[in-house]
């Protein structure tokens, strides 16, 4: 019942859209694919749906070749980032469309469409056209249509990215409930938002420049990002990465001693490392390292302060709204127990959740 991709590659005009993508998608699980815009997420979904050819690699379903299966026989439903519905059909007929194509009996269609519309809360809008609905409602129609036929593969390409923040959170919540009924379907959900990927996914796949660079349960990916790139992608704001030296029980950036070496890094040999620290793990303090404020973002209940410390940029997340002016000099303190250590190539050496002496296995 799995959907297995092996070494899928696609190059267009010299740019790798997919590069040696290997992944096994399991039935009954929700896979979130996280990556920045143009990381290859949409391309991957289009290949899985049969809408895009590949240069090489293989794709199997239940162990049988799937690449040569035409789109309309792949038993695959898809929800696009743009609100795509059939403009000429009513909401009811939009949702009924795949069932009619599958030759489901009329009464059965009626029942299932009504059930589906009730689940997304659109019963009273069933006679409207998509163009008479709000963006959120249009996307619910698309969701209802994708869910109604119980397709074996359900692909969602940043389905809520075009919605405003509040609606996005709400639909994300609903989606979790909606999905709980999907049984044995392989569900793949792409997103650029770390919180979404972590919250929804049973399995998280991190994509970058056409490659899958890490796969694992959300907790594992979050706690042990395999590389600095993963660490940046799965954190919002991206994890602070800086180069420093361990020497004499201290960590120094350039000649500036920034903190002591915490317990979980204590057994690392002296040398140069890349360190990672999440934005909430840096605090502004009354005394400590002097840094210059380069930018301030206030988002709801949090303030993101961009700091420059001897040429290295940091982003600090602090609770509450703070009035900090550009160019101010402030003191910051790192929480050493939260430090990640990566080697010069960017591979994870030690994370806060691994105890001392337990090297990171891959």
């Amino acid at each position: 019942m799995t959907l297995d991709a092996t070494d899928l590659s696609l190059t267009v005009d010299g740019v790798d859209h997919l590069k040696d993508v290997t992944a096994s998608f399991q039935p009954g699980r929700l896979h979130t694919v996280i990556g920045r815009t143009l990381a290859g997420k949409s391309t991957l979904l289009r290949v899985l749906a049969g809408l895009q050819r590949v240069d090489s690699g293989s794709l199997t379903r239940h162990g049988a070749d799937f690449l040569t299966t035409p789109v309309w026989r792949r038993d695959t439903a898809m929800v696009y980032q743009q609100f795509i519905n059939y403009p000429h059909l009513t909401v009811f007929d939009n949702v009924a469309f795949p069932l009619k194509r599958a030759g489901v009996a009329r009464d059965e269609i009626r029942r299932r469409v009504q059930e589906s519309l009730a689940r997304v809360g659109l019963t009273e809008f069933r006679r409207r056209r998509p163009s008479q609905l709000s963006g959120g409602q249009q996307q619910r129609v698309a969701l209802a249509r994708a869910l109604v036929r119980g397709a074996g593969i359900l692909l969602l390409d940043e389905p809520f990215a075009n919605l405003d923040y509040k609606l996005r959170e709400q639909l994300r919540e609903e989606f979790k409930t909606l999905f709980s009924d999907q049984g044995d379907a392989v569900v793949i959900y792409t997103t650029t938002e770390p919180a979404e990927a972590m919250m929804l996914g049973d399995v998280v796949l991190v994509m970058h420049e056409g490659r899958i660079i890490q796969t694992g349960p959300p907790g594992e990916v979050y706690d042990r990002p395999a590389t600095t790139t993963v660490a940046r992608i799965i954190n919002d704001p991206p994890m602070n990465i800086f180069t420093g030296r361990i020497a004499g029980g201290r960590i120094a950036v350039d000649d500036l001693q920034v903190t002591r070496v915490p317990a979980h890094l204590a057994d690392l040999p002296d040398g140069t490392y890349q360190f990672g620290l999440r934005a909430p793990d840096i605090a502004l303090a009354s005394a400590g390292l002097q840094a210059e404020v380069t930018f301030v973002e206030i988002s709801g209940s949090e303030t993101f302060v961009h700091l420059a410390l001897s040429g290295t940029g940091f982003v600090v997340q602090i609770d509450g709204v703070h009035d900090i002016a550009l160019g101010d000099r402030v003191s910051m303190r790192l929480r050493p127990e939260r430090l990640f250590a990566f080697d010069h190539s960017g591979a994870l050496v030690r994370s806060p959740s691994s105890g001392p002496g337990s090297p990171e296995g891959r």
Partner: protein, 280 residues
């Protein structure tokens, strides 16, 4: 300033409207004249300058010594209708293929195929008429409606392709893709998901087909003789250097009437707003 501008604007509009309406007015006036009303020089006011008669109109509807325009009218209608439907069907299919798929035959790509279609419009009918004559003679279709339909398709198909390629390019591809994911084959996706959303484009294409089909003169002029006469032929046959202008005018007005109604229809389509409102 704005008052001056308004005056200026409505003056321009009125002047052009007068220029547009003038020939029709003259045809209407003339259609109610007889020899007395025409031969003394230009006259404008019925009852004052000339005595209106219905001779012209009687002549075209089977009055004694008149001409038959009803049969040519029906011929024109059938030829235009059938040729337009064929052109729209073939043209929409081809345009959809060209809009959605990539063709590569040697160095020939999509844009070249589109150019091939559209370039047929460069060909003056006169160039085609002689070979068409032999073609239809060989197929035993000279002086028949099917023969004229075939050559008219050559005129209309390029128009249909031209209009529809642009139109289909404006419909999001995701709609076709979704239809296929929902279980339609490529043809099913076209018929069930795209065609129903293509009414505005098909309307415009149909309008152009109607105009160019109905108004064709040269093909009918040279490829039909006694059996089939189209309306433009029938009217031109009346155009001798001097009267019966009243019959000519009546026939001209009668022959133009269906397409003038088309103008009203086209305007409605324009005012309703085109594609963006439909697709969103």
């Amino acid at each position: 300033m704005s008052r001056l501008y308004a005056t200026f604007k409505y003056t321009l509009i009125s002047v052009w409207a007068g220029f547009v309406v003038g020939p029709f007015m003259w045809a209407v006036l003339t259609s109610f004249k007889d020899a007395n009303g025409v031969q003394g020089g230009a006259t404008y006011l019925p009852w004052v300058q000339y005595e209106p008669t219905l001779t012209g109109w009687q002549n075209i509807f089977g009055g004694a010594g008149g001409v038959d325009v009803v049969r040519p009218f029906l011929n024109s209608a059938v030829i235009t209708l059938v040729a337009s439907i064929i052109s729209l069907a073939l043209g929409a299919l081809a345009a959809y293929g060209l809009s959605r798929y990539r063709f590569k035959i040697g160095f020939i790509a999509n844009s070249d195929i589109i150019f091939f279609f559209v370039s047929q419009r460069i060909m003056p009918p006169v160039v085609l008429v002689v070979p068409f004559f032999f073609l239809l003679q060989w197929a035993n279709l000279l002086d028949t409606i099917p023969g004229l339909v075939i050559v008219t398709v050559a005129l209309l198909l390029p128009i249909a392709v031209w209009v529809m390629v642009d139109f289909f390019n404006g419909i999001p591809r995701q709609i076709d893709e979704m239809a296929m994911l929902d279980g339609c084959g490529p043809f099913g996706a076209f018929v069930r998901a795209i065609l129903p959303n293509s009414v505005p484009g098909l309307t415009v294409a149909a309008m152009f087909c109607a105009v160019f089909g109905w108004n064709d003169f040269f093909f009918a002029f040279r490829l039909t003789f006694t059996e089939i006469q189209t309306l433009p032929q029938a009217v031109v046959a009346l155009n001798s250097s001097i009267p019966p202008w009243w019959t000519l005018s009546a026939a001209a007005l009668f022959g133009m009437s269906p397409l003038i109604l088309l103008a009203v229809w086209v305007e409605r389509y324009l005012s309703k707003g085109s594609l963006p409102g439909v697709i969103r």
